[in-house]
Symmetry: C2
Subunit: 471 residues, 2 copies
């Protein structure tokens, strides 16, 4: 039942924007512009007592006045008016409401009372509420959004969903994701103060959403910890969840309380419980995205042993430190693998693991050197995952040929492979795009690559415990 209720938020057939505005900078205008730009295929209505038409949409003095049976109301009016609008929703039979407006429990006692009044009306009308104090929903495939942040028209669809307890940030973050990352988005849910709909409800919906393979979740507080852990336990056996917890420290917890009225809880305790429930924890937004990317793109490893091939001896040292510090193990290569590699080196060089490709590249081309390195670690039976460290700026042909040369190995999808890149900025960006177009995660720093492999390994243990449970 709950899943069906939530589905309407993401896939409504009809929508009304309350607080629709002609002023193009007002939230009540941007929301309509966004829906129009996305090409929302459903029926769209506006409520504004002072207009008959806004941005080409018919406008009414109230929802009731539309005379329509509507799925979703998006409320973007001052907080003081929200209870009255909620009454209008209830009387019009609307069952799904997104409250964009701020000025509720995050602001103190008066706001808390205003929220309670609003929720009471919602409950009486069996209305599910997202917010207040949020951007709400984005569903690129369904061409639907409730956000007041100017949405990029063409949002790449993909396997990653994002749940955030911060409306504004879901918006800016989305800007980042759609312009700087290549994995696409399945669904975004900005939950704001979580007065009704919370992470649990969204996770239950995403569990059944075929377009979602990985979930990123920024969370300040959780209302019902027991329910959340239960759902997370079930969810993570099938799809990974990466959580960034806000309010890990006393200062952060205090800020979270001001922000969304959340009680952040004791992080050391939460951390353990979350891990037990199979959740991958990220320390910051960069990690959350790094982890989501590898979880979306790569197969799971059979163990923690990492093979490393690096264009630079120095980078090989850093990579060895990084994987060890991330809790992984430098793979003990078979003697045979090192012997094969040794035969290709100039006479003065000695093969050891991590493979230093520089001596090899004095004999063969750069791309060929990387290929030999990657192949050498990939086929070694003691290697569970591969880390290729690429330095750009030595071989001008890299941009044209490197990814093509590596592609047959990158596309095997037998063992996870990640690439760490350093060098000239533009060239790194070009190679990153090329690599990620064939779903090979590329990281600008070897430490981020190592931690991402560790997250993938951590999830492999969660996912494999599923098989044990189900057999």
């Amino acid at each position: 039942m709950s899943v069906e209720e939530i589905r309407h938020f993401f896939e409504p057939e009809s929508v009304v924007v309350v607080g629709a505005s002609r002023n193009p900078e007002k939230f009540g205008s941007v929301i309509i512009q966004n829906l129009q730009n996305l090409g929302y295929p459903g029926r769209l209505f506006a409520v504004n007592p002072h207009a008959h038409e806004i941005l080409g949409i018919r406008s009414f003095p109230s929802i009731k006045a539309t005379g329509e049976k509507l799925d979703v109301a998006i409320i973007a009016v001052p907080a003081s008016v929200v209870p009255q609008v909620m009454m209008d929703c209830a009387q019009s039979g609307i069952k799904n409401v997104v409250i964009i407006s701020s000025g509720f429990d995050e602001t103190g006692e008066a706001g808390r009372r205003r929220l309670e009044e609003t929720l009471k009306i919602a409950r009486q009308g069996s209305i599910r509420v997202i917010g207040p104090n949020t951007t709400g929903i984005l569903n690129p495939k369904g061409k639907f959004t409730t956000t007041f942040i100017d949405v990029i028209t063409k949002i790449k669809e993909g396997p990653v969903a994002f749940i955030a307890q911060t409306g504004m940030f879901a918006g800016v973050m989305l800007r980042y994701l759609t312009t700087a990352e290549r994995f696409g988005i399945s669904k975004v849910a900005g939950l704001g103060n979580k007065s009704d709909v919370d992470d649990c409800d969204i996770l239950e919906y995403l569990y059944e959403d075929k377009d979602t393979q990985v979930v990123m979740l920024y969370m300040e507080g959780v209302k019902d910890g027991r329910r959340f852990l239960e759902i997370a336990r079930k969810f993570t056996r099938t799809k990974p969840v990466v959580v960034l917890k806000g309010g890990r420290t006393p200062a952060g917890a205090k800020a979270a309380f001001s922000h969304t009225g959340s009680l952040a809880g004791e992080y050391s305790l939460i951390k353990d419980l979350f891990k037990q429930a199979g959740i991958i924890l990220a320390q910051d937004l960069a990690e959350m995205i790094d982890f989501a990317k590898i979880l979306a793109y790569q197969p799971l490893p059979r163990g923690p042993r990492v093979g490393i091939a690096s264009m630079s001896g120095g980078a090989a040292v850093m990579a060895s430190d990084a994987i060890t510090e991330a809790g992984l193990v430098l793979a003990p290569l078979e003697r045979e693998s090192l012997n094969c590699f040794q035969k290709l080196l100039p006479e003065w060089a000695v093969a050891s693991h991590p493979l230093d490709l520089e001596p090899l590249m004095e004999i063969v081309s750069g791309p060929e050197g990387y290929k030999i390195g990657l192949e050498s670690i990939l086929r070694d039976p003691n290697v569970d995952m591969c880390l290729l460290v690429v330095g750009l700026g030595l071989f001008p042909e890299e941009e044209e040929t490197l990814v093509n040369t590596l592609a047959p190995f990158l596309l095997k999808r037998d063992k996870p492979i990640v690439v760490s890149l350093i060098g000239a900025k533009r060239q790194c960006e070009v190679l990153t795009t090329q690599l990620e177009e064939i779903k090979t995660p590329a990281y600008p720093m070897v430490g981020r690559a190592a931690k991402s492999l560790a997250a993938l390994y951590q999830y492999s243990k969660v996912a494999s415990s599923r098989s044990l449970t189900l057999v």
Copy 2:
């Protein structure tokens, strides 16, 4: 004396490239191309027994055959020939030699003997040696380099020196620095196997180098720990040193031994000793650069209390967590500051620290909101440093006006200020460039901004202990 010896490596009046080549891809060709592209103003000679002229430079069968008194020899011939070339250097009175070639102690016993033989000749000729197995020197101001990595013609001069025990990486890293970062470079020294000249020698030179204000140092092993700590202690009282230590873990230490023949030492011990000597430790290259940037750009704080103004409540929570986890303190703002800020907010919003600027931005423009936020924390007497969290994508005018609007405050240089940016990629890049052109460090993640402030605070204690010592 030692400083004068080292100075010749960076500022030679005449140079000979041994192993000069006509094949444009050979190291012995790229080195000459680099010198020509940089516009090296000194005298340049080539040694190649099979040519009379290479790239327009006169070529001789040996150094002796030039009949010249030369400052620096760059040796780019196979390792087996290096002892013989060193003999030629000694007989020609050269006192500074950079050995580019690999195939020495990093490859085992035979290589070790070859190095010993080479060094014996060098010692007899009172020759200082950089390398082997390195790229050596880059001095943008002096238009001099020994590197075989295709150097970007125009390298921005600036306050940061980089010492790296990895030639190849110093090259690729340089590519990154010159294309992705805005602080300029004073000197680069790739030291390779450190058979003679080591970090200590370079630090002593950089101590007196007026163009160097901050040193980044990637180090695998240190030959003479006691001397290094002594020099570091003196150095860090005047100029900060950021060290990235390779070989922190057993796997990394083993890789370091293969890479440069270095003994990495016990990191937990090294870490404490380095900190006591005033060194700032970085965990990876990104941190090393982040820290160097803030140390080069910003004044030192008087204490650990951070004022935060953020465009998003969620980001404010993350920022509070990040500074606390970095060992800093959320500043207890004066009641007066919060009252002033409160007066500017819409009626429903409640001022608290960190300052959430979103409610304010519903009334004033984005840039104006950031300005008010920054000013509010900057002038509070309980704030030692400022962190401004900017989200891009909400206000289209940001790109044109934000940095100009903030500039009067950013340029005060009374308290350190950093900016953390998230949002649309291109806009973040534009703003980052604008900010760093006026020496305000901009970080893509709030965690990196927080750690950089913590590094600056750590250094403020080292630098202030100097005043205590000197008074």
